[in-house]
Structures are given as C-alpha cells and as structure tokens.
Amino acid sequence: MSAQSASDRRPWTFYALGGFFGLYLLFLYGPMLCIFVLSFQGPQGALSFPMRGTSLFWFEQLITQAEAGDIAGAISRSIPLALIVTVLTVAISLSAGLAFRSRFRGSNVLFYLVIASLVTPGYVLGIGIGLMFQLLGLDPQWYSSALGAHLSWTLPFGLLVMFAVFGRFNRAYEEAARDLGAGAGQILRLVIVPILLPGLIAVALFGFTLSYDEFARTLQTTGPTNTLPIEIWSMTQNVTSPSIYALGTLTTAFSFIVIVTSLSAIAAIQRRRTGRALDTGAAS
C-alpha cells in the first residue's frame, strides 16, 4: 500500500478517534449485552456474573411467577397505546410541518410551546396531567391521560423530524401538481406523502418507540392499570432475580425488531429511488 498518496493516508487522529468511537459503542452496548447473556441463566442464577448454567428458566418465571406482576396485561396495553400514539404523532406532525413551512400568526409561540413540552421534566408534567384529571373528576386511564402524556413527548420529536424532512423538500413538485390541476387532497396523497414517506416512517419510529418505553410521564397518568415500563419499574423496586433481565431482553428484542423494520423500510425506499434515478439518467 506504499502507492497510496499522502492525502489518502489517515492521520493518527483517525486511529485515536476511531478507538474512542469503538470504546463508546462498547460503553453503549456492553451493559445491554450483559443482561442479555445473564437472562439465559439456570435456576440458580443471580444478578451478576459468573453465569450459573444456561436455561430459559427466567423467561418461564416471567409468565408463571405471580410477583412478576401482570406483564401480559401490561403488554396488551402498551402496544395498542404505542400504535395510537404513532398514528396521532404522524398525522399531527405532518399537518403542523406543512404549516410551519411559512410564518403564520402564532407560529413563534407554538414553536416555543413545542420546545417547552420537550424540556419540561416528564414526571412533573405527569403530575400536572394527573391533577387535571383528578380535579376535573375524570378517570385517568392509559388511553386518555397516559395517551396525552405520551403525545407531549412524541410530538416535539415528530415535529423536529418533519422540520428536517421539509428542509429538503422541493416545493416545485407541489406547484407542478397544482399546475396540472391536482386538488389539495390529491397533492397530499399523490405527491407530498409519497415523497416524504421515509421521513414519515422515521416519525412513526419515534412515536412508537418513545411511547412504548415512556416511563416518567406515565407514572402519574396511567390510572389503575400499568403499562409495560411501569411494570418494569416496579420490578426494579422489588424483584431481585434475573427475571427482570429476561424481561429486559424480551422488550429490548421487541424494540430492535421495530427499529430494524422501520430502518429497513426507509433504506429500501431510498435504494429504489436511487435505482430509478440511475435508470432514468441512463435512458436520457
């Protein structure tokens, strides 16, 4: 490789920062790998290494053990909740994103309200929503108060993603469609949504995962029944067996499936687009 030119040679800082980056990834994923491995221990398993046998014992415990709480019930609420939050986040963020392309009356106030919603401590906002329901005589439920609490967390992220997406959106497509006689609904359905699809999938990914794992805002708003993160939280307070690791492994695996599916969908759309662009490029 001595033929490499001087500009191609990596400076020493590349190796130093590359090593630093590797350490950061280890720091990021190492602990998760530990609980993943430890969740497959035998019945004598404890909370730390060394591994004491291998089995699926702690996963079975999750289903059979009474003190683990109502995990199946919590999952049966967390997933529908996350799906509702996803749909609402995509719809509201897309709609607001369209408007935010130009200045309108109140746009500044609304923007800072979004930022306020993002930086308000989740637990404090949860107390507020809980008090509001309590004093208005409403029943806090996962599908009412907790749903609202989740939106206060997912909408700012949805909107920030839409800002980034619209930043690269060429309005000429929209105008061309209008010149060709398309109505507002047709422009949205046939032009804007297809072009923005990767961004909308990203918004959906934020909506789903942030709601599915939301904890601080949910504590005071979930009402009489728990969502999965609240169930996990109460396990951290009173369960001292690897079954909590088993639950961590399961829920993280589920999150990974959601993440990989969304990212693959985005990648597939992008690949098809560059493919098409190349085809038309070759044809012309």
Binding site: T13, L28, P31, C34, I35, F49, F111, P121, A216, T251
Partner: protein, 291 residues
C-alpha cells in the same frame, strides 16, 4: 391575491390546530393545574382548595431544598461536561473521519438505536457490571489490582453519572453532528494553508462553527438531568436525591400541594436556565428554518 394569501394563512391555522389542541390540553393546562394546586392545602388525605403560600414557605425553609439543588447542580455540571466532550469527539469522528457515506450512516445509527429502547432497562443493565460482584470488580481483583471489591462503583454518585452519560450523550451527538455536517470542507484546507495546527483548527474553527449544536445539546442534557428522578433514585441506592425524586416521595404520601410548589420552583428555575442558554442561539432558526 390578497384573498389567496388570507386563504393560505387560514389553511396554516387549520393545519396547526391539532398541535395547538394537543399541547394546550396536555401541557399548558396541566402546568396551570400545578400552579393552582401549589397554593392549595392538604387536609385529611385530600387536596383542599385554598389560597396559601405555606407550601412555598415550607419548600424554601427546608434545608433539604438547598441540599437537593446543590446536588442537582453538581450532577448537571459533571454530566454536561462529560456529554459535551464525548458527544463532540464522537460527532467529529463521524462527520470528518468516516469517508464512506453508508458506513457513516450505519455508525451514526449505531449511536442512536439505544435511544429507541427502554431507559429503565438501559439503566439497570449497569448492575451486573458495577455491582460488588460485578464484572469490573472481579476483573480488577483477578488482575490483582485490588483486594476487596470497590464499594463506590454501584449505588453511588459515580453510578449516577455513568448512567446519565450512558443515557444522554446521544442528545449531544445529534445536534453537534448536524452542525458539523454544515461546515464547508474547503475550510479545512484553508485552515491548513493558514498554518493552523490540527488542534488549533478544532479549537478556533470547528468549535465556533458548531456552537449552535453544542448549545442545543446542552439544553437537552441540562434539562434532562435537572428533571431526572429515577436514575438518581436507583443508581445512588438512596444516597442521593433530586428535586424531582423528592417530589415523587411527596406524591407517594399524597402531599400533592407540596409537590406542586416544588414543581413550580423547579419549573421557574428551568425556564431561567433555558432562557439564559437560548440567549446564545436562535433555536427556531437552528431547528426549523435552516435550509
């Protein structure tokens, strides 16, 4: 023409209506309820409407309040410095050292994927590493560096800071990485031509040019640490507390008015801190209008 303009303005208002509704119902009104309840009384296990400043008096007169806020200040400063340092260099590596675009995207996503998983699980995943019989202690003992397990690894301030850095560094990486990607690469050649060393280029060119990213990241990290209660509760083993964890203790004994008063104090402080940081950057231009 004028009608068309008015029409499009009307349309804008219609399009942002759902967002307004969601944020007013689930952010503005709840925060107003906190302010209202903060002047209520707590009697016989219920909240009684009143107009009293007792709750504030008790928040301000308690020694605990000062202790909590000092400890919060300490955690905020340490976490801010560490996440800014780590976030800057991770973003720098991704933005300027990775040449292949696909690999760049892959490595960036590798940094963000954990953000989409459970914070509580990520936090407790430190237990098998930092515990008394944890991996770090056993490794150090095997190497003969220590005779007894180090006690300060878990259920300590160190564990709290490790968790904060673990959970929140991504909030620094993303905005700094964004700012770095807007830097014109030709400037690096200009800097070299001008005789700047690598370190000088970073200090006098890259850092000022990604000031906005650093500030945005700082807003996230500072507010996240100041609003935390569960990391400090679990990872300090009860040794440390935060303003919000004290609120959670109030709530568990149904002392809603007292918790509401502490919440108002914290929110005022947070608003001042965020407003002070925002003086240095136009957040809206940075997030919503840069094309």
């Amino acid at each position: 023409m004028r009608d068309a303009m008015n029409g499009s303005r009307m349309k804008s208002q219609l399009l942002v209506l759902p967002l307004w509704l969601a944020l007013i119902v689930f952010v503005v009104v709840p925060l107003a309820f906190i302010v209202v309840v903060s002047v209520f009384r707590y009697e016989d296990f219920t909240v009684v409407p009143a107009m009293t400043f007792e709750n504030y008096a008790s928040v301000f007169s308690a020694n605990l309040t000062l202790v909590l806020y000092l400890s919060m200040l300490k955690f905020t400063l340490i976490t801010w410095v560490l996440t800014a340092f780590i976030g800057f260099w991770i973003a720098y590596f991704l933005a300027f050292h990775v040449r292949n675009r696909l690999i760049g995207i892959g490595l960036f996503l590798a940094c963000t994927v954990p953000f989409w998983t459970s914070n509580v699980i990520r936090m407790i995943s430190w237990l098998p590493l930092l515990g008394k019989q944890g991996l770090i202690n056993s490794a150090l003992m095997q190497l003969g560096l220590i005779d007894h397990p180090l006690q300060f690894l878990l259920f300590s301030d160190l564990a709290v800071v490790v968790s904060y850095v673990h959970l929140f560094t991504i909030f620094m990486i993303v905005p700094i990485y964004n700012s770095m990607n807007r830097i014109d690469r030709a400037l690096f050649e200009a800097a070299t031509d001008a005789g700047l060393s690598r370190l000088q280029t970073v200090l006098f060119m890259v850092v000022p040019l990604c000031k906005n990213g650093i500030i945005l990241g700082s807003i996230f990290v500072v507010t996240l640490v100041m609003g935390d209660f569960y990391v400090v509760k679990v990872m300090s083993g009860g040794g440390s507390a935060s303003a919000v964890s004290a609120m959670a203790d109030d709530i568990s004994t149904l002392l809603f008015p007292h918790a509401a008063a502490s919440a108002v104090v914290l929110l005022v402080l947070l608003t001042l801190v965020v407003a002070a940081i925002m003086r240095f950057v136009d957040v809206r231009a940075e997030l919503a209008e840069r094309r």
